[in-house]
């Protein structure tokens, strides 16, 4: 049995709750003058750390420039299918929502990719809902094989898979896996995921480890902020990423703090996270995980995204459409989308904004030559 994160979660949660409650400004001030480790996560996401946000920002900015340079990598999601048998209370794809369901054929997938590529973006994220009989692994593998030679990097954000299936994806040229736990608080999780395979919290947590085991070069984790007490989620998310980084030293970690945007018929955020708290989480993640990518999607508004660029974020999406076929015709606020995008600027507008912030844009930061079957 390889080591797993799940058995550690309860103890980490107990410790995090205690340390979040006990954290005081003096502890934070001291911590910021010494070498930080992921064990400091409760301290840096605590309320007490709120008054040190400016200091944290300067440290995070410096660290980001040293590790990643003054460069932001762009990616775009490509939604393959919105069929889903889960009933996540917050999600646009929930099986209970009466939306038009679409599963793209291979030709359509290529059309969508053509549009994204023509805008310059060469890092693609393939996304589906969870409905293996409507859009299963075979079709995802087929799409990946078709797209691989034309893109710099290909990640998937799909249903949890077995080790064997992740190996198939890696063989097809998929180099990154994104799988958000949504919340690290099992009771809240159970309430929000009442039906479908996603209701199995532990299975979801284990799947990212299978992805690492299968050789995914990038492992993306995230918590959907707003669902549960956010400081605890941010703390456990950072610790989960740190654990994965140690467990899979050959993979790069990517961490994301998406905030819940209500969809019609979906729930509102019970624990809303304001901009200041989001920034604090991003800064804490950078200081505790200097080598991790920090990802921000178009669900955040343009003005905020531009301000986040210098603060530890290294990877952003641009020009995103969040429904299958969205690039080749459907209106942007299509109700078949997974969530509503806030930053609706075109790719070229986003590139301009990144440059205006004094940063370069990397449209390619990976190479197909890294992928494929090994001869040994």
């Amino acid at each position: 049995m390889s080591p797993a994160f799940w058995p550690l979660l309860e103890q980490l949660t107990t410790d995090a709750k205690r340390r979040l409650a006990e954290a005081n400004p003096e502890q934070v001030r001291k911590a910021l003058t010494r070498r930080l480790t992921p064990a400091d996560a409760p301290l840096l996401v605590s309320e007490a750390a709120g008054q040190f946000i400016e200091v944290m920002a300067h440290l995070a900015r410096r660290l980001t420039i040293l590790r990643f340079g003054r460069v932001i990598t762009l990616y775009a999601p490509l939604y393959l299918s919105n069929y889903c048998q889960n009933q996540c209370l917050y999600c646009g794809f929930s099986a209970r929502r009466p939306i038009e369901r679409i599963a793209l054929g291979l030709e359509q997938v290529e059309q969508e990719a053509d549009i994204i590529l023509s805008q310059g973006i060469r890092h693609l994220l393939l996304v589906t809902g969870e409905a293996p009989e409507k859009y299963g692994l075979d079709r995802i593998v087929e799409a990946a094989r078709r797209l691989r030679p034309r893109v710099a990097s290909l990640s998937v954000e799909i249903f949890p898979c077995s080790l064997t299936d992740y190996r198939r994806l890696v063989s097809a040229g998929v180099d990154g896996l994104v799988l958000y736990q949504e919340t690290y608080q099992p009771q809240v999780y159970a309430r929000l995921h009442p039906a479908g395979p996603k209701s199995d919290f532990a299975a979801r947590l284990a799947a990212i480890e299978a992805g690492g085991e299968a050789g995914m070069r990038s492992l993306g984790v995230g918590a959907l902020l707003g669902l549960a007490p956010p400081r605890l989620d941010a703390c456990l998310l950072i610790q989960h990423a740190a654990w994965l980084e140690r467990r899979f030293p050959r993979s790069r970690l990517a961490i994301s703090f998406p905030r819940l945007r209500p969809v019609p018929g979906g729930i509102e955020a019970e624990h809303p996270v304001d901009d200041k708290l989001l920034v604090q989480f991003i800064l804490a993640a950078r200081l505790l995980l200097p080598d991790a990518e920090i990802v921000v999607s178009t669900r955040e508004p343009a003005a905020l995204r531009d301000r986040l660029l210098g603060l530890g974020v290294t990877r952003i999406s641009a020009g995103s459409r969040t429904s299958p076929g969205g690039y080749s015709g459907k209106a942007m606020d299509d109700h078949a989308g997974q969530f509503f995008t806030e930053d609706r600027r075109s790719v070229s507008e986003v590139i301009q904004a990144v440059r205006a912030a004094g940063l370069d844009v990397a449209l390619k930061d990976f190479d197909a030559a890294f992928c494929g079957e090994k001869s040994t």
Partner: protein, 264 residues
């Protein structure tokens, strides 16, 4: 050494007047990078194959590197094993005709330390296939020797982990590598300040490679110039035979004091 005698860096038969190699990552824009390259006086510039597309004449980064002034040295940064590095180098040569490669095999994205075994394996394959191989290595004298025996054109030991700017932390091992090597020793990675570069050159390094120290500076162009001057100063110091430190005796507990003591 007289001031007029040309002092060239020679790698695989090609002469370079500058002993400063430059990286092209982490800059805020291709324009700033281009100005920093110019200020550095470099003639040999490395670019990550991961970042550039040699097939694309419109590639932003490549367009900013004036190929009439700089020889382009593609690197395999991001490769996790020999096979990936070799594959990347072959594709680069097929696309561009460039047979020079800075070999980097760094399986772990956290510290980006080079894997010695995979690096040697890749070097052996690439040399056999006619590449001019410049391997990035930890400061390991025996590995350096093995790579030289395998036919590498240089060895490029790190001064400190990449991007740390901590300076010549591996000074003693690099000293041994310089002493034993018959190929140019290029100190690569970890240099944060011009004084670190000067120190490397004083020690007898043939050249240094710098990237983050310039790109992450508030004013990369001026910092590039500072590195240029430091490399030149360090080289001149090396060539002019430093005086060395005076072997002054310790006055506190003399070993031969008894010779002058009054008999008791």
């Amino acid at each position: 050494m007289e001031g007029t005698k040309p002092d060239k860096l020679v790698i695989a038969g090609v002469e370079f007047s500058s002993r400063l190699l430059m990286g092209t990552g982490k800059f805020a824009s291709p324009e700033i990078m281009a100005r920093a390259l110019e200020a550095s006086g470099t003639e040999l510039v490395t670019a990550a194959l991961r970042r550039v597309d040699l097939n694309d004449p419109q590639d932003n980064l490549l367009r900013a590197i004036d190929r009439r002034r700089y020889r382009l040295l593609p690197n395999t940064s991001g490769a996790r094993d020999a096979e990936e590095a070799v594959r990347l180098a072959r594709l680069a040569r097929a696309a561009s005709g460039i047979a020079w490669v800075k070999l980097e095999v760094t399986p772990e994205p956290t510290h980006l330390l080079p894997d010695p075994i995979e690096t040697l394996r890749a070097a052996e394959v690439l040399v056999r296939e006619g590449f001019v191989v410049l391997p990035y290595i930890n400061a390991d004298p025996l590995l350096a020797r093995r790579l030289e025996e395998a036919g590498c054109a240089t060895v490029m030991p790190l001064a400190a982990p990449i991007g740390t700017g901590r300076g010549l932390k591996t000074r003693d091992q690099i000293g041994i590598i310089i002493e034993q090597s018959r190929v140019p020793v290029v100190v690569d990675a970890g240099l944060g300040l011009p004084s670190h570069a000067a120190e490397s050159m004083e020690l007898g390094a043939a050249a240094v490679l710098v990237n983050t120290a310039v790109a992450a500076a508030e004013d990369p162009v001026t910092m590039a110039r500072a590195f240029r001057l430091a490399v030149e100063a360090g080289r001149l110091a090396f060539l002019s035979g430093p005086m060395g430190e005076s072997p002054r005796a310790q006055a506190s507990s003399p070993l031969t004091g008894f010779l002058w003591e009054e008999p008791k």
